[in-house]
Symmetry: C3
Subunit: 116 residues, 3 copies
Amino acid sequence: MTIERIQPGPIMSAAVVHGDTVYLAGLIAADLDVGTKAQTEQILAKIDELLAAAGSDKSKLVKANIWLTDIGEWSLMNEAWSAWIVPGATPARATVEARLAAAKARVEIMVEAARD
Amino acid sequence: MTIERIQPGPIMSAAVVHGDTVYLAGLIAADLDVGTKAQTEQILAKIDELLAAAGSDKSKLVKANIWLTDIGEWSLMNEAWSAWIVPGATPARATVEARLAAAKARVEIMVEAARD
Amino acid sequence: MTIERIQPGPIMSAAVVHGDTVYLAGLIAADLDVGTKAQTEQILAKIDELLAAAGSDKSKLVKANIWLTDIGEWSLMNEAWSAWIVPGATPARATVEARLAAAKARVEIMVEAARD
């Protein structure tokens, strides 16, 4: 089975495809000067782009890990998530609180998807 | 390969099966008015149920992520884990501290398993 | 498909191989009386050993989760990571802050790799 790497950088790749599974990096928003809901929307748009580049899409998500710098903002993140996710095609998901590498990042999301 | 979703909810599915891999959501206890060991026991029972629904069982665990709100309670969680796990069939596991979305949740566990 | 477990202990296995995927446990350094960069170097050497035992190597990494007890030490961890990783073969990666089970551990790393 081949390994395909999408936007491979010196530290990490934005996405890695192995067989029928797509692994995305932990993603944060490009514009961090906005609130948690808007940051989440940016991340989800980036997930759409990367899944498309990997030959998948959000209806094929299998797993998601979400980190929030303030777990009290779970509902704000979730408003964006719920508006984006495909009904009936939700992944296994876990959300916990953690400090993130970028000081102004409020949310980071790492997903896995099928592509077949 | 088909994707099968078990208890698909509006935000997440309790479990997702893709090919020969089963992904479970991050699970917390249903009754949060008990200590860490008892919460862990509830979670592990739920894992048994979901793995059975997915055509797998705990002897086929491949990976586990565990979050504790107080890492000092590692031993309490682990008492329940050790009593439950199948000797010789332990998964790759990581346990770290994190605040969780439900205020009284002391432990959250997310596992992956094989089903073939 | 068979499940192969490497160094299966009573709580966790150091590595689990299922089909073409290798899952490593969350690893910390053996000698914790050193700084974050040196701890990371120890962990990466252990990853090399375990991947070899599983029939894989670091050029086949697909995913990495890194936890730092102080996210401000991201650059220290990353110096060791960048010196070790295979250019062009970087995994999907996420790094967040978390307290770890061993008091002096500054970094924990959990990876997945392909082995075909």
